[in-house]
Symmetry: C2
DNA sequence: CCTGGCACTCTGTCCGTGCGAGTGCCAGTT
DNA sequence: AACTGGCACTCGCACGGACAGAGTGCCAGG
């Protein structure tokens, strides 16, 4: 019915006005700023229904209405189209990210760019090791019985790990080891690397077996260790903007959660690269994220994203704009890493 | 005279009380909490003199006194001994930093540790490239005319850079290049690496000269580029603690300055590893750092520090305690990086 | 089903007052 | 000469009442 439809229109108007003004919005202001074709009194009736259904709420009697988490959810799901970025914005993204010299630089620029575009806290995950492939393995002798293993992936990520060997190692062995490792692992997805180890140890010349086994073990350990999944965070200064208005109490728990990383990593684990994931307020099921929303998407191939990136901000945020920015940056980062 | 001495004692008492209570401190409270052996009235006279000399000030008539930047300066220079850490704290540092698997991990742990010990924002600089020596140089072919150069330093730092070559390169050339670069640069301090380039190009076989020149140029560029001097920052949540009390206005400009990094890097450039550097409030000559102090020290060899680490907090901070923590962590990090 | 009108409720703000903390000064004491 | 106790004075701040404004819910009428 036209009935329900107008009610949704009212909800959309409330969300939009509240996001831009940060004031609870009343029926009169709504009628003035949007031509809904009905009077404030009618809007009041609609608002009463919306409130009963749990989409909006009033901070106190006789203040305007404010969207609830559920209201934002409906808005995101049904009432908003992802706003396309302007040409200028697209060019800005391009100009900003081109000229990055290495992976660290790409991610650093991305996070700054995202923070700037959305005026929120931006979060970028390093490409997951498990989904990258080995480009090169390097073995460097650090001490007589100590090797440094350096792994370079096709996404440009570099990981190092020191390996203590049971016996002293000579130069020849190091060279052999390097050749052996590279021929075994080159081009192999890291997630499959574990399977190769038994064969590798098997096929190694007798005098190298122990060494190969030790080194492989460390290598696998490096890959499996998920705690090492790194994040780059930026734009935290944006939290200090709307100050007491946006977050209940202080931003402290949020900052702590961001530094912990583990919460964000768990959220990031759910992204894929085709649809933008939006988690609103309580949906995050984490105390520190009360009042905060999380907009994220994967970058890289659609089915198997390399990693995720996104933003964290108050539930009262410009969802269409932020979703667009996140998606655009993710696409660009995906391209950059695919071809490097 | 005993006169001046007591006045300084009063200043010390004011600083200590103000730091722990966060309230402007009055003559009566001072007389009660410290046995200065004189009455409040006498202390009032001393305070009047201290105020005239610019060491303390009152926020408004008839409030207690608060130390000025100049007052803190005197306190740090003449009135405070660096407080030795408790055995438990020392052990905590050791336990926390041992078990770090690589450089990134060492620095990450350091910054968290420092933030936790001081309850301030902690900042740790990566070991300066220019003062490290080459442990290994690796060349990996990424595409026909594209090489990736990976530099591993004796401090465990790994830098990568992609080099576009004028001509296609074959496998043999890559191997030769690797050998050439390593024999030329191995063990060389990066700051001296530039001097080696002409000789290297000279001595290279004819067919490699162009390649060697191109690659060396990129290498040098990587080292010289100071913008790439990285920082790890942690404990920003501590800024949201004392809230409006500690910083004028908001913490926003401070957070922005920290993210910019350049301000902090400039401050870090001045550290050496033997004395703890304290910059108080206005001394930092930077708007965003008004009301903020910076406590830092270098780590590594005393005369040639590898990098710096420190904390940023409100001028109203526990200088002796923080100086001790910063120094202790720096020493430990210095040891760790020296032996790895 | 919508609209205009009306009474009601609640918050944020402004202002005036009183209180307490702290000072500066002065006369008196050692 | 240096210190002390006393006293009058100055402010900022917290408390409380009054007020205006915004917004609502409801009802009767179109």
């Amino acid at each position: 019915m036209a009935h329900d439809e107008r009610r949704l229109e009212v909800l959309r108007a409330i969300v939009q006005d509240y996001v831009s003004s940060n004031d609870p919005v009343g029926s009169k202001a709504l009628a003035e700023r949007h031509d809904l074709g009905v009077s404030p009194a009618t809007i009041r009736n609609d608002m009463a229904v919306l409130e009963e259904q749990g989409y909006i709420t009033q901070p106190h009697t006789s203040a305007g209405r404010v969207p609830t988490d559920k209201g934002y959810r409906l808005f995101v799901d049904r009432l908003s189209a992802v706003k396309p970025l302007s040409m200028a914005e697209r060019r800005a993204i391009e100009r900003f990210l081109d000229g990055a010299v290495d992976l660290h630089d790409v991610l650093g620029r991305s996070v700054r760019l995202l923070a700037q575009l959305t005026r929120q806290v931006a979060v970028v995950q390093y490409p997951a090791l498990s989904r990258s492939a080995v480009r090169h393995l390097e073995v460097v002798q650090v001490a007589a019985a100590r090797l440094m293993l350096v792994l370079i992936t096709d996404t440009g990520r570099v990981e190092q790990r020191v390996v203590d060997c049971p016996l002293d190692v000579d130069d020849g062995a190091v060279a052999e080891l390097r050749t052996l490792l590279n021929s075994a692992f080159n081009g192999v997805k890291l997630i499959d690397a574990g399977d190769k180890v038994p064969d590798l140890v098997e096929s190694a010349p007798q005098h190298l077996r122990g060494l190969v086994a030790t080194v492989s073990a460390t290598l696998i350990e490096t890959l499996v260790e998920p705690s090492e999944d790194r994040l780059v965070i930026g734009g935290t200064a944006n939290l200090a903007r709307g100050n007491a208005l946006d977050f209940p109490g202080t931003v402290r728990p949020l900052l702590e959660a961001l530094e912990e990383q583990v919460v964000v990593l768990r959220l990031m684990a759910q992204v894929d690269a085709s649809t933008v994931l939006v988690r609103i307020g309580e949906e995050n099921a984490h105390e520190a994220l009360t009042g905060a929303s999380f907009v994220s998407v994967g970058y890289g191939k659609a089915d198997r994203p390399l990693g995720g990136l996104g933003i964290v901000g108050p539930t009262r945020m410009d969802y269409p704009g932020n979703m667009a920015a996140v998606r655009a940056v993710a696409r660009y980062v995906g391209h950059l890493l695919a071809e490097s």
